[in-house]
Symmetry: C2
Subunit: 259 residues, 2 copies
Amino acid sequence: MKKLSIIKIGGNLIDNESLLNNFLNDFAQMDGLKILVHGGGKLATQLADKLGIKTEMHQGRRITSSENRDVVTMVYAGLINKKMVANLQAKNCNAVGLSGADANCILSQKRPVKSIDYGWVGDVEQINISFIKLMLENEFVPVFCAITHDGKRNLLNTNADTVAAELAMAMSKDFDTKLIYSLDKKGVLADVNDNNSTIKSINLEQYQALKLNGTINKGMLPKLENCFRALANNVSIVRIGDGDVLKEDSELFTSLIRK
Amino acid sequence: MKKLSIIKIGGNLIDNESLLNNFLNDFAQMDGLKILVHGGGKLATQLADKLGIKTEMHQGRRITSSENRDVVTMVYAGLINKKMVANLQAKNCNAVGLSGADANCILSQKRPVKSIDYGWVGDVEQINISFIKLMLENEFVPVFCAITHDGKRNLLNTNADTVAAELAMAMSKDFDTKLIYSLDKKGVLADVNDNNSTIKSINLEQYQALKLNGTINKGMLPKLENCFRALANNVSIVRIGDGDVLKEDSELFTSLIRK
């Protein structure tokens, strides 16, 4: 099977123009088949503020009213996605910017209302890989934002970490797939205040322990859930690191290990 | 050669949700290979107003400051494009939303500053049809907004009528190409105040006369320039009409004729 790298770039890297540009340099230079998935950064919240639209978060997830959905669609699928594509094209990387609605690549279900009504938030139901495969086979580089759709005209705001993991799981049927989460830290830290405290590897049992003792918490929890779910579903390698994790000779990152 | 229809939908149709939905119904049902190109409507100006960003127009073209470019990228490439794609997908039309930066499909040059500095406005230099052909061959339906790029990281705001005409000219090398401009009027009108005064056909000579006597003016002038340029460059059929122009049995529209 051919090797495929799926890289998710997080909000904090996107907000910093020079970090982002360095990251895109490294991404453009990576050999082999690759897909980029990006989150949104603070731009959507800033735009909502300017427009007087209230931003409400619950456990790090955006409660997405109709107005908020328009904002994230504009910022993620429009501004961030197309700026990245234009930047990658200038670096000779033949990027194609996509949402999950395009070619019906990512079909989601609007999250059912339980104790919280998340609004227009989607949970991934199905990845249709035919278009993605066609692109990879023809040397195009898909760049996904985390806007998906429900097949019934509705766009849905979807968690970018989950989109990356779901893409990796779906693609691993046809490709030897590596999933990389790239953030502004050198991996999962033993001490959140010490950027030199990267944990080199974590298996499922260690993850449970680190969760219990509070070392891993907040936003890192759902990210690691995605990592172990990907590993349990045939994704070969899962790593968390900063921009340098893309480099061949990179050494400092966290490897997630199946057993 | 296989037949290909390139349809450009104008601003006024986009602004009206029910007209737009009817149009997308007809577009989804069209047989054969097809590409949709859309303009922006009033949404970009409305968003700019809300954000306190000044909108300046010169002869119907937007003077595009950096801030204005962000606005049109968000609105055209994000909101309008992805909403259309999600709508078409719900109508079983396998749409893929694109800007000219994606797959380097449309390369433009920033308009040189002469008496007017248009800012980040692009004039189309080159259409790269390989990705577009790949999509058409695999039964995907490209949906282009009129944001292009210069290959040097810069997104450029580009006239959607021109994008449609340039796409039609480029594709006519490999396809028997029809170019249709769909607007909120039943074609070119002999009397702008009478929507029943559609001129059934106009050749180049007649166009010059209609231009001289003022029947054709304002925004219709550059549109017709694009039409005759397309006809002079191997595009087979060029029509201007309303949403009904897509229907097989449509009779009321303006045909542009080479000689």
